[in-house]
Symmetry: D4
Subunit: 184 residues, 8 copies
């Protein structure tokens, strides 16, 4: 892989586009934005509805790579068509977040996003788990970025430390129930 | 993003690792290999079982980035733990392929792979759709590789042309049923 | 409703467009064509893939009403986006046929088609039941067409007669098992 | 299609009948009425229970076309038989709204409505989405009504504008999280 | 309960009506007939389609009690409306048999039959298990018929004996695998 | 059917036994008791747990017919074994009520009750619908009891009248939304 | 089985290890601890996350038997990998508790735990039912421990007595509704 | 744990009882027997049907511990009551195997077995996976048996070796597709 082949990404310009069908999805989708912020990855966020503004949605997807975006994160619920439609008009990796609606617990959203036909993949994460969409975007960018990968490794180390701390609290609570010390 | 920050990948060395719990998954998973071959992306393939060789599985994931891999594709069925466990020990993007088993039509495989907790994402594709896993790996690598991205765009164009050809055949068949020409 | 307000439909021109993502859906979708043929409703049929030719799909939907189509029937499987996307770019009624794929028995197709957000309805029929899509198109056209409605009423009468004939055969078979005559 | 063949619909008379099994379904089903009101389509609404007044239900369906109705919208929950039974006694298009009950999240309602046998279609919309039933009725009437179709096109344009407005609000919120402007 | 209050049932006249939507359901439903034959309960069998002959279906249910039937067994698949509709027009107990169709494995049939609203029960048996519908009809008639109840008790005893015989065969097979005798 | 063959049921003695695994099921199951009370059918109610008092459960079922019971109604949740186990030790008709628990919305309860093997039927009603279990017991007893059947017919008539009254209220509400009178 | 072959378990040392992915699972999992406490079985409890501290998780499982543990109870939700991964690195019996998360009602957790491939079993209990995990651990230890087995038998007797007491309360409540005494 | 407290198990007497509702379950359940044979654990196998021989089933469970059994493995399908009913009458650990029937793919069997109420656990394994039931029985017995535990550890090691061998074959096949050697 030569330098020349690396797509240009203007300094400070968004590398990740976070889109969703409605601003009502923002409470879920902002977790993707927060994850990107933690890693210092510039992003943009917008409402791009497959069903209410289909022409603009196609336009958004078609222009994404040319504008310098490198990953798209799309959240949608119910008959969730946004991630798959964007994937059909861009060569970029598209991450789909199944947003749970009032009924069916997100199972409809999940199947509508993940069950894409051969040729057009969508990288699907767990129901409502936009934070993981953000982290997956970071991993994707870090696939060819040593510095970002080091940050991800450090982040994973911090997860471990948080788990340790939780273990300490739990052992204290369990001791109150008569638990034996694990060191015994 | 500077050149210096790009992880080293020796010429000809595998950029994608395709792993699965058993060689019985190969008829499904080889479609990922074929997709990578079409795009000229070097890969390796191996049996890495989360449940039968857990230590080696952890080892595989832990060493993957250091060995020059940039993406991991993991296929598994039933209580499918391989993609998620690999994701927990590598900073690389991990793509999970739910392999359908004899019962439950892959729904167990899908949920076991996609429903990862916050912090450790797996990029999940459709049940049994390893081809899309391969294509997603290409998109991920192409996120920062102009030449590969152009190939993906050309591939997408070829999908369109195949669909056109299918349409031509279909219109002929439908005409036999009395269908009016779409141009009328 | 005045004559003036009736959209022009050239004699012999297609009133219904039957579209699907691939010609592999034809064995299912041709049943819609056959139903329309039985009622003398002119139709066209084509491959219009949401994921492989998204621009043409949008174009197809956007131009459908102007070309004289009055109803669209769209069949799709898995993450089935075609019916909903067409509905988003046409004011015509769109009928969706969930095509069952190899896994999940069409449940993914059904949910992907029927669970449309408020604003953009798709008239969904049973999994794999393209014949009913054709019949629904006839009912829609017959809503304002006395002659077609009379044909539909006659068709429903013929269903009754077929059921009678089946009953006769069944009573004979049941008598062999010792069933009492229903007239007794 | 000649003027003569257009079924007579007295000025001001209901063109759409909205029926449901109980007045407890009204909070869901009134959204269909509201949609029709927005488009100026005259409708009637009533309780017609398949299970509590089956004879009257059959009567309602049998007489609907003769009374000048052109579309029927039927909402029901659980073992939801109303839409399908009405469809069996009328040549009119019948739209089914799966009303979610306390348990099973409307999945029972959806399957009971959509899985109709060949010969008798019901145009099914999303669980609890009576607004889309109203909009689908408008599309059906607009299939042969230029003026109504223009209203539907204008409505779809308004959806787009609402989506734009939502996007504006979202971009502002996202900027507070550090999002880059999409224009950058 | 006095003798006078017992509904008249002419000798040899059908006490159970077995109905189904199509003769294609007969291979499943004949098992109900066979069970009734084993117990010497006179029955009739017919095609009564809720969707193809709704008026006759209502008529069948409305007249059933007057004709001397005491139990109705109704089989149906998909959006299975026959059992519930019959229950709405007769005071007789109605037994519903969910007939599995090609897709969804009978789950749609089951939910369409069992999830009846308060007021109108259907006694539902397992998917495809028409034999149990026949046996349930016998139990219902035996609730007030000592002789029939004795036959049912004897039948249950025979089930036990069959199970014993199966056990004997199994122990022999297991011994070949090295199983210890259960008496040891 | 002769008088002699009618099982003796002492005046005032319980004809229906309502049992459940725990008194926590009573809020659901009391609706069965209320239905029986409305029809003047004497009943008993008790806790009979398949899992916590299996010997007594078997005893209860084995003695039920001899004690004069004619129908058993059994409610249970989760791995709901009570209805099926009782059915295996009594020749009486057993009605099963799937009680929904905290998770899975009663789907586990429903399948555990309805999917009985050939030979031992359970008459299953809707999830949580104990009222229908009571009404089904009345229909079963009324199968051979003219007076009770007349009461059931009158009850069904009252359902119709309630539905009418609901319709009246609904039409008034709908008129406020601009609905046309159905008589127009 | 000789004494010599019995694994050493230091007096007072933990015989059961209760682990979970996060301290947020403790409200569910503490019920396992309480059950063990009731039976006087020494236990330890800790956070051991398959995804956040995979190396330590493998270490925990690998060392469990050597440290004197005889049973492991592992709770996890969503893509629940902890029980299965521990089972792959220990010869001890591992009990899995599917912890329900916000969406999908624990169905994902259940399938991710129970559907283990041949070779590596996990003893799975009901969704959210950690108390049963504790009781199962007691039964496992009691398989070769006469004293503990006697305690379990006594516990089962106490369940019966509690059910009796519940029955007494229920009969009183039912009598208020007019229920006949079961002894009548 | 003292020697005195170890339940007596006569040399050669069955330690594990494998039971099932019908000999038609034997092709599935014999895999449990084979696993036990591999580990030299004496077992018995029999038909014990919860629904066809309930009294004998209760008897079997009640006497199991006294006869020297230490673990029970019970397989059942559909409304699978055998494992849970046995667990209610024995203090022994009971392992449940959900046997898949013709419809619903074993989901009914799984839920009927695993969703046991608090107080009476069943150790559930994967749908149709009787081999794992046998291996789980071995782990349970090995919890207090050093020699058996060593065999289990050796067995797990052999799984690893088989996985290696599969990997070798897979790498050869993949090389034919152009895969890079993993060592590269």
């Amino acid at each position: 892989m030569t330098t020349a082949s690396t797509p240009e990404s203007a300094p400070g310009a968004a590398r990740v586009g976070i889109v969703m069908g409605s601003d009502s999805d923002w409470p879920v989708m902002r977790q993707a934005a927060e994850a990107l912020t933690e890693f210092g990855v510039p992003f943009e966020a917008d409402v791009v509805s497959a069903h209410r503004m289909p022409h603009e949605m196609i336009e958004y997807g078609s222009r994404a790579a040319g504008r310098g975006l490198q990953v798209i994160i799309a959240g949608a619920g119910g008959a969730a068509h946004l991630p798959g439609m964007l994937a059909s008009v861009t060569p970029l990796p598209v991450i789909g977040v199944p947003v749970p609606l009032k009924h069916l617990d997100g199972l409809d959203s999940l199947l509508s996003i993940v069950q894409m036909p051969a040729g057009v993949p969508v990288a699907t994460v767990a129901v409502g788990n936009a934070r993981n969409a953000g982290l997956l975007a970071v991993r994707i960018l870090a696939a060819t970025d040593t510095a970002l990968r080091a940050k991800m490794a450090a982040f994973q180390e911090s997860l471990r430390e948080q788990a340790y701390a939780k273990g300490e609290r739990l052992r204290a609570e369990a001791a109150a129930l008569g638990a034996v010390s694990g060191d015994a």
